[in-house]
Structure formats: C-alpha cells, structure tokens
Symmetry: C2
Subunit: 293 residues, 2 copies
C-alpha cells in the first residue's frame, strides 16, 4: 500500500466480542448467557471488561491509526463503546433491516489540516454493517481489517486474531522479516510511517457524522410518533425508515427508527429531549450504522 | 506466512465472472442478459471466452499453485469449467439451500509424495459456497484469495482485481519492493518458494472427492425418485437432502439433490446412467459444493 494514502479503515480486532456477537445472532441468545458460556469455554476471561467494554479494541485501533497516519493517538482521545448493551432484540431488528452488528474500530481521515497534520475520527463502537458487506461475514473469533486506500480502493485482511498457533505464525513471520532486514542492513524496511513522526489530532466524537439505528420503548397511543418525529425534525435529523411492530394500544412497544447522516452532537441533544417524553418508557438505544460509502 | 505450509487455497480471481454471478443473484437475471449488459458497460470483453469460460482464472490459479507449492503447473493439467451453464434457477435453488455460487480457483495439497513432491488438486469451477462463509460476500468485481496455512489457520486477502488505479497501486508497491531489494543487495527477499524448484503433480479431477449440487429435470410420476436413488446408492453415493417443488403429475419438474462427499469418477458414471433414464428429460446440472472443512 506504499503508493496510497489510507483514507479510512475499519477493524474487527477483538475476537472475544466477535465470538459473542456471532453466537448471539446465530442462536438468538442474550449477551450475558453467551458471555457466561464463552467464559466456561475459555474464549472470554473471568474478568471480561478489557474485551467486552471495547478497551482492547481501542488499543489496537489506536496502533492502526498511528501506522496509517503517523501521529501518536492518545488512548483517552478514542471514543469507546463496548457490547454489553447489545441485546437479542436489537440483533433481531438489525437482521430484519438487513444488517449485522459488529464491534468496529473505525479510523477515518477527516482531512489534512496543514502543518497540524491529519484530523481523524478514531473510535470503537458496535456498528450495523450491511449483510452484503464482507465484514458482515467475519464471524466467530476471526479478525479482519478493511482498509481503503486512495489509489488501490478497498482491501481486506482476515485471519485469526489470537490462539497459540496463529500467534506463533505471526511471530515467526516477524522474526524472518527482522532477520532479512539485519542480513541486508536495512533499518526500517516496510513501515508506511514511523509512528509519532507526524502531527495530527483525533476528532471529538460529537463532531462525527454518521447514520443511526434507534430503538425506543414507547407507549402505543396516538401522537407518540408525531412527538418523536417533531423533536428529530427540529434538530434537522432525517428519518430514513421506521419499524413499529403491532402492539396493543396503551402498552409499551419497541419503535425502531433508522436515521440519516447526522452529527453525534445533534443526536445527543435530540435523545435527551426524547428521553424526557412521558410516552418513552426506557432509555433510548442508539447504535451507529455504517454504509462504507 | 513464511512459517506455514499452505494446505489449500481458494481464489475468486476473475472480476468479470464475479461481477456477472453477483448481478445474476441480486437481480434474478440470466447469464446471457447480464453478460450483454456487462459488455455494454465495459466490464466484459466483446469476446468474453477468456473470462467466462474460466481460462483467465485457470492461469492465475496455476500461478498461485506454483507459488504455494513450488512446482510448475502445466495449464493443460488444470480442470476448468466456466460459468456459461449457470442459470437463474440454479442460483435460486442455491440461495434456498443457503449457498452462493462463485467461480473458485481451488488448490488443495493432497499429500506429500516423497521425492515426487506434492500432489495437488488444481482446478477452476463454479462452486456452491455457504452464505456464512466470507467468500460468499466477495461481490461485484472484487477478488479474494482464501489461504489455509497449517500453522496460521485461515486467512483472506481481498481487493480489486483490475482497474487502472488498483493496478497502478500494485505496480508502485512492486517497484518500491524491488528498489528496496536493490538498495540492500537482496536478490530474492520474499518468495515462499522459487517456482519450479520442486517437483509435484496435479491430481486428475476424476480422483477428486467433493460434494455436489445436482439438478435434474424429471417427469413427476411415481417411482422417479426411487430409480434415481437406486443408481446413486449402487454407486455408493449418499444423498444429504432433496428438494422437489410441487408440480403436476406427468409434467417435467426440477429435482434438486445435495450429494455427500464422493469421487468425481463415481458421479460421472452415475450421471451417465441417470441421463439414460426415460424419466430424465434434460442433461443433469452438476455444481460442486465446498464446505471449507
């Protein structure tokens, strides 16, 4: 990729989370049940926070961002969401809409900023991925990084992210490279950038624009959708589709809204107002949607 | 992959065929209509035989086999089927069964043969790929090679197989590698094997064992399935599932059989006998099935 500027990349970089999300989808199971089973089988640690809360994915995503853009990414600047809040029902609605939920590490160059270097989104969060996208079929403990170069277009690199054999293979490969480098006197043969050599900055998540899946628990009565749509409309947030399964009037039902591109800040403000509505019975669930355009 | 023996690899290595198969599936269209449109759009040549009859894929698959196993593969030893005989109805039945049809270049090491080197299957044919497999989502003009190493496990490399920008990116990358090689005096830094340095042989397709999708056009009358099942049973060929859509007695209907692992030679013999049955109204359609086990 030496002839390319990397404009964005998306990584499934935590095998434990991918294993849990894969089983939740295949078995229609809840997070806590699959986590317990994964712990029993040794796929998840007894203390799973580093994995399921997204911190391990954030570390790897920061390293990838540094390799792609050459500036040091302070871990505290990476916006991180894990997968604890992903429920069976959200996976089912995502499936119905043609999406698979994956924990993605996302790095998008938001433009060069002169002497200040590259401004980039660097974040980790569960994402609705279209089923027709190759990342939607990266399942079980497999990892993959989807890289977009300005010349080569889209590329993907896929394999096991852990396990003693896969790790041994990678270490052998690095040793062979290092031996060849020593043999021929090269000091740094391959690196696209020496990390930390350039300047750059991480964009605040509130300034990031994306699409959203929104699940509300609402009372099924006349005027509910109108109130919610009015708040979104006032915030200039567009609705691309709505699912409201048939319920019984007066009862609490899920309301699914697919939201067009909007800044995270606008969504944060609108969700605060929506949460305060009397007809909204539980905290809204918001999951970002990626179309890879 | 320097620490690995490559036990098998599967490639989607012809963008034109993949583009045509993707559109046939998405649009429910026939081969000839999509080919005509692809020619109009410049995705297929006016003389499309090199692509759609599998010859281009066979050339690339032979090169990959040489790189993986170090012996020269004579193109005439590669078994090749193209995609002209793939119909809308087969794509629809494959979808119903949970598969996507892809033209795969398949190289499987069938064991080391002492001083004679590696015996390998090297072939190109349309293949039913399970929808949950990552190759099933390699769509449009994208290419991918799925490589199994004995240590690293399964890996995938995905990107555009053609186009001036992707090609420019690859050439730049090769030039940069060559320049670094010259600079540090290395003569052959990366090749896993110098092709042609080892001995080896391509296995005859008739000796290859695989699973099969079989579509017969049969007369819907009592005893039809029994006659076909008897021939398969006598050849020790196992049926794993059957689809026979409801028809009108006495009329011609499709009969879909999914066949367990069997040698190609046994299938060839059985299909000759099945074709000769009075209740079988058209030449059988046989497409191989890959489970990636």
């Amino acid at each position: 990729l030496v002839g390319n500027r990397i404009t964005r990349h998306y990584g499934i970089v935590n095998g434990t989370c991918n294993y849990i999300l894969t089983r939740m989808k295949m078995e229609g199971a809840e997070f806590s049940d699959v986590l317990a089973d994964a712990q029993r089988l040794g796929y998840a640690e007894a203390e799973p926070s580093l994995d399921v809360d997204g911190h391990d994915a954030a570390h790897k995503t920061g390293i990838l961002a540094s390799l792609a853009h050459g500036f040091w990414v302070n871990p505290k600047d990476i916006y991180v969401e894990g997968i604890r809040h992903i429920t069976k029902i959200d996976i089912q609605f995502a499936t119905q809409l043609g999406y698979t939920i994956k924990l993605l590490g996302i790095v998008k160059c938001a433009g060069e900023n002169g002497a200040k270097g590259c401004k980039a989104q660097v974040s980790v969060y569960p994402t609705l991925v279209p089923n027709s996208h190759v990342l939607a079929n990266v399942n079980q403990v497999f990892n993959a990084v989807y890289v977009r170069g300005d010349v080569v277009g889209d590329t993907l690199y896929y394999g096991r992210g852990a396990g003693q054999d896969a790790t041994a293979s990678a270490v052998l490969s690095d040793l062979a490279d290092a031996a060849l480098d020593r043999k021929c006197g090269a000091k740094n043969r391959v690196p696209p950038f020496v990390p930390h050599e350039r300047k750059g900055a991480v964009v605040d998540i509130q300034d990031v624009i994306s699409r959203y899946y929104l699940r509300l628990s609402v009372v099924d009565k006349p005027g509910t959708l109108a109130k919610i749509a009015a708040i979104l409309g006032a915030s200039k947030i567009g609705i691309s589709s709505v699912i409201q399964p048939e319920g019984h009037e007066g009862e609490s039902v899920p309301l699914i809204l697919m939201i067009h591109d909007a800044p995270n800040s606008a969504m944060t403000r609108a969700l605060k107002r929506i949460s305060a509505l009397g007809v909204v019975k539980a905290p809204p669930v918001m999951i970002r949607v990626e179309t890879f355009d």
